[in-house]
């Protein structure tokens, strides 16, 4: 915790006054909407309407009994698990690599960071061009090395769409893991490695006994943070496939959008959004609990 002032007269007024605008904005833009969305989820909102008769939990019952919802839930888990596990593995590998000294390391770091900084729409445009079945470079490369015999329709086939979306997501977001882990790797005291070296520990033993225990808390925290963010990612999937083909990449956020703003059934959309939110709250509770513990240890 940071140091605070010794309290002086008038401080209380200043503290609350400076906080009021922020509190007001968050109240109007986050708290009130959250209450509104709960209200909407309990109403039967017709096509293109903004409100409707109260129907209790019917929208939730509809969601939990509809096949679309369960497909979306399953897709969400595939998307989150696939993306986060690959991001963590790739992120750890490249963080270890960038932690070594070599010429042009700054350049390498900039290149590896770049995907995280570019706008999502840009990432999507480039990858859609590369994924293109006829003029795309990906099919051309894979065919010239003989991995595939005929061009694949990456984004338009139910069997490869999810994989393709995960590839783009991992490419775009793994640099976050690299940066997070690079920070903690550089804080490991070098003497520990030197001592291990003298004792004849192999590189693998050094990683297992020194590096891993040291970075583990940050590694887990980063994985959790990536899970939360990946869970409610919308635009990267929407722009790549729109949730298709045939629901194969429809995750919960995509389903909320489709229900709310393509089918214009705001009540049902709100119900799905709230279920999504409940799952997220569980993840957030774990995250905050974890952070409290990490803070207590410091």
């Amino acid at each position: 915790m940071a140091e605070t002032h010794t309290v002086q007269p008038g401080d209380r007024a200043i503290a609350y006054l400076t906080l009021t605008p922020s509190a007001a904005v968050l109240l109007l833009l986050v708290a009130v909407p959250t209450i509104t969305v709960i209200g909407i989820s309990l109403q039967d909102v017709g096509f293109g309407e903004m409100s409707g008769p109260w129907i209790g939990l019917e929208n939730f019952a509809w969601a939990l009994t509809s096949r679309t919802f369960w497909t979306a839930l399953k897709n969400t888990f595939v998307w989150v698990f696939g993306s986060v596990s690959l991001e963590m593995m790739l992120g750890l590998g490249l963080a270890l690599l960038l932690n070594r000294t070599f010429a042009l390391r700054g350049v390498a770091r900039a290149i590896i960071l770049a995907p995280y900084l570019i706008p999502t729409v840009v990432a999507v445009l480039v990858w859609r061009y590369m994924f293109h079945d006829i003029v795309g470079i990906l099919n051309y490369m894979l065919m010239s090395v003989g991995l595939i015999s005929k061009p694949m329709v990456w984004l338009a086939s139910t069997s490869t769409a999810m994989l393709s979306v995960i590839i783009v997501g991992v490419w775009k977001f793994f640099p976050f893991v690299v940066i997070a882990l690079l920070g903690i790797l550089q804080s490991i005291p070098q003497e520990q490695y030197e001592a291990a070296e003298i004792d004849g520990a192999s590189a693998f033993q050094q990683f297992w006994r020194i590096t891993l225990p040291h970075i583990l808390p940050v590694f887990l925290l980063t994985a959790l943070l990536r899970t939360i963010w990946t869970f409610h990612k919308f635009e990267i999937i929407y722009l790549l496939t729109g949730g298709g083909p045939l629901d194969s990449t429809t995750t919960l956020p995509i389903l909320v959008y489709i229900k709310g703003f393509a089918d214009f059934e705001l009540g049902r959309a709100a119900a799905i959004a709230l279920i999504t939110f409940f799952i997220l709250v569980v993840l957030l509770a774990v995250y905050f609990g974890f952070m409290k513990r990490a803070e207590a240890r410091q």
């Binding site: 400076t18 833009l29 900084l117 030197e194």
Partner: protein, 301 residues
């Protein structure tokens, strides 16, 4: 910098060894491995961006060629020219700038003030408010887009840039509050206190001592807010519809899939141009960016 190459450490620091040759071979092999891996990683990760830039300079005939040409046989600026002369790209660009700067300014003014209080005082409810802030930052957009859409329609703000500025603030403000709080935390309280002993009031001390020291923090928070609003897509998709009010991500998104009208060349050229402001900002705050980006994960305080 505290990192050393482990192999190099062996040579530099380990007690003298008999077998110099074995150590040399180990050293060279390890170096070669490092460079090989780094080269591979950079090639694979960097290729899509390289391809984007290269292809934006190719004429249409080459873009639709199968197999594709690697480097353009003929470099051209035609795609960029078309973008400005035949499309609404300049309008989208201007709209994006307005929305991104608007949201950034708003969250900086409101959030900077609030963050000072979060950092410096421990009255009732203040540390609770910090937690709420972080929670808001992680709220899914799809949850609040539904009610915000209803408000926007009811207040007659549909299809305006103003609605986007306000909606973006729902996310850039928590970000500003949370990050600015840690920047303020890093500035010693004693500086303000000695200013107050010299006769400053609390507000004068804040304005004359703390704020100037927090400028680097303010700059990097601006970059984050700007980047967030510049990227934001869902609110734009739901709130705005007319060509006049489209921001870049929405404008480009509607071109995707219409490659009979908008050629890949134009799309890739626009992708390059959308990336440019982000790149400029990145170069400006490179060092701080790395610190800021990991703030959430490692929570350095």
């Amino acid at each position: 910098m505290t990192s050393y190459d482990t192999a190099a450490t062996v040579i530099d620091r380990a007690p003298p060894r008999r077998n110099y040759e074995a150590a040399d071979i180990h050293f060279i092999a390890s170096r070669a491995m490092t460079y090989l891996l780094a080269l591979t990683a950079c090639t694979v990760v960097g290729f899509p961006l390289f391809w984007m830039v290269i292809c934006s300079f190719k004429p249409a005939t080459e873009l639709y060629m199968s197999p594709p040409t690697f480097l353009p046989q003929q470099w051209t600026l035609q795609n960029y020219r078309d973008l400005f002369l035949q499309t609404r790209f300049p309008t989208y660009f201007l709209n994006s700038l307005i929305v991104a700067f608007g949201a950034t300014l708003l969250s900086l003014l409101v959030g900077g003030l609030g963050a000072y209080s979060l950092s410096r005082f421990r009255f009732f409810g203040i540390s609770g408010f910090s937690t709420v802030t972080l929670f808001c930052y992680m709220l899914p957009e799809v949850l609040i887009v539904i009610p915000l859409y209803i408000y926007v329609v009811q207040f007659g703000l549909a299809d305006t840039l103003f609605s986007l500025i306000v909606a973006n603030t729902a996310f850039t403000l928590p970000l500003a509050l949370w990050f600015m709080r840690s920047y303020f935390n890093a500035i010693p309280v004693t500086l303000e206190e000695s200013a107050m002993i010299d006769g400053c009031t609390r507000l004068q001390a804040m304005w004359k001592v703390t704020v100037p020291l927090a400028v680097p923090g303010l700059v990097s928070v601006s970059v984050f807010s700007f980047n967030h609003a510049w990227n934001e897509f869902l609110f734009a998709l739901v709130f705005t519809s007319s060509e006049r009010n489209k921001v870049l991500p929405l404008g480009l998104a509607t071109w995707i899939g219409q490659d009979n009208i908008y050629s890949w060349g134009m799309l890739l050229a626009s992708a390059v141009l959308v990336t440019l402001p982000v790149l400029v900002f990145y170069l400006a705050v490179q060092k701080r960016l790395v610190v800021g980006m990991t703030e959430g994960a490692s929570k350095g305080e």
